[in-house]
Amino acid sequence: MAEENGTLMRVSDLKKNYGEVHAVDEISFTVPRASVFTILGPNGAGKTTTLEILEGIREPDSGEIEVFGVRLRRVDRATKERMGVLLQDGNFEPYLRVKEVVQLFAAFFPKALPIDDVLSRVALKDKANAMIKTLSGGQKQRLAVGVALVNDPELIFLDEPTTGLDPQARRNMWTIVTDLKGQGKTIILTTHYMEEAEALSDYVCIMDYGVIIAEGSPRQLAAGLGQETIIEFSAPALQEEHVNQLEGYGVAARTDGEIVTLETEDLVRTMEELLSWSREQKVPLKNMAVRQPNLEDVFLSLTGRRLRE
């Protein structure tokens, strides 16, 4: 089949079981060209297994992948030549130097970027002769990104690229992703950080227990909750009757420990009712915030759980 304009990858009924566990349960989605496509979900949702099948290191039990206009049961060598992969948990030979690692990976591809370009891109030029075992976690992650980009790929997989990184390193990674998108690359990203998905993604696909429970742009997904506004506050020692009372005000109320989340279409009325309820019940409303719904709220409203649970 010819490569459709605008679509880089199409996944149909992809399935993978580990014994009794349905890691990926017949999922289908389409990845548009030159976009950041994010698979969001809690740990164990099946994000990494999905990515590993698309990267070619696992074979699906069933289903089909169409990438670069070619239908495949399993990702082949020609496809891998056009892909770059940042694994969630991969390592490098500890006794190689940074430059040698990039040279090694460059040699696996028929065409590769100059080693110095790759190193400058991930800010590791001054570490070119350092042994891998002497690098910090952030430096190793940058090298892994460099290695994923060594063949100047059209399609880039980034599996949990910022997990375990400090805030500064996370921001740097976001800049790299934004730059790549600016160069017209297609990026498939997994994360369990809602703010990361919101900041980077053009399309988000929310996975839970091996299935896709929602998909669309972050704006579309949030809009799916209606015209609600979110009111959040923390209230220690909240009784169940209090929650019931709050629901009586006609808003969607959920509690997560001390945190209470209210969704309302009429912010002014709900605020007035809430303040009088607080005075009558002598429940203080701490850290109150009013905001628009985000992907975390979407996940919460779909599953009743938070992403990082």
Binding site: Y18, I57, R77, L87, N91, Y95, L96, A107, F108, N151
Partner: protein, 408 residues
Amino acid sequence: MTGILLVARTHLFTAFRERITLFWVLIFPIFIFTILALIFGRIGQEGEINFSVGLVNFDTEATAAWEFGTMIEELFEELGAPQIEGKEPLFTLSQPEGGEDPEAFVAREQEALRRGQRAAVIVIPEGFSRRIEQRFAPAVVSTDSPSSTSEALTIHYSEGNPSSEIATGIIEQILAGVDREILKRTGRFDEEAAVPTETVWVGEASEIRYVDFLLPGIILMAFFTSCLFGIPATILFSRDQKVLRRYWVTPLSVPRYLAGLSIGHIVVGLIQCVLLILLGKYGFGASVSFVALQPVAFLLLAQITFMAFGFLIASIAKTANSGMAIANVINMPMMFLSGLFFPVAGLPLFLKAIVYANPVSYLAEGVRTSLGIEAGIFSTPLVVGIPLAWIALSIGVASRKLRWDVER
């Protein structure tokens, strides 16, 4: 192709940059070679058995018709001179320097004997020739006794010192021969009545020195340990540490990775081989030459067999640690029951069974016979066939069972 070569380079760098790997690849074989060559290296070195013997002759009066003392002294001086150019003589003789007091010399030599610096001290007494003329006295042996005042020739030796006991035995033999010759010449020896003895020459002493026997064995040991430990460690640690998964998301395939790893390991073997040959040649005087098609072919066959063995271990071990444990368990028996370090002809039957099943035995023999060091006990088809069978078995098992990625 460059991908394969860079995998090979990666393997080489890892082998020589990681200290523990470097130990097994180079330092351990060099250490074992040095130890064995130093301990056993003198065995088989023709003419290099040498005893330090003190000799003093008090039998210097010119009155006797026969100067037997001087004759014996000259005989030992003769034995103390090198018989073959470049080789040490049987005895290194120590005699009083001109003007030195012979009595003081005897005391000094006896002290050296006690310290183990002399194997024996021969004292030819005053009046020795006269006594032989009168009575043809036999030699007398004493243990560390002070210089005898009798007219008997005295050999001082140190009991419990093997070198001293052997030297004394040899000296007694020589003197018995002298005695017999004297008796014969004076007509006192009845040849008919003597126990007939004859010394039969059975051919030249073996020209093969232990270091030449040992060198190919050490090279094979170096190959064996570095493959047995190095191959499973490389594959299993890389797999379990998720180094390999990074390769599998690139176009690099398992066969190309294996080709690179194998080339890298053959180069490791080549470096081991060259360094050990240089050490053998310039450190211990090994004279065997490996530059010929057959020895090189056998060394290559050995390296490939041991690499296949490494793949076999990697495929039956679940983790890197269990791989190392398996390698440890089979390393010693396979190495020692193979004739790598010493001939295995005298082993009991149940141990010989291991020798016969062990591919190392055939490879050790193959390399040695191709170098002309050993006649060999196995037939040529076996020497090539058994290692090939092991390669086929190992690769067969490994290709079915070896996992290239961590399990989920």
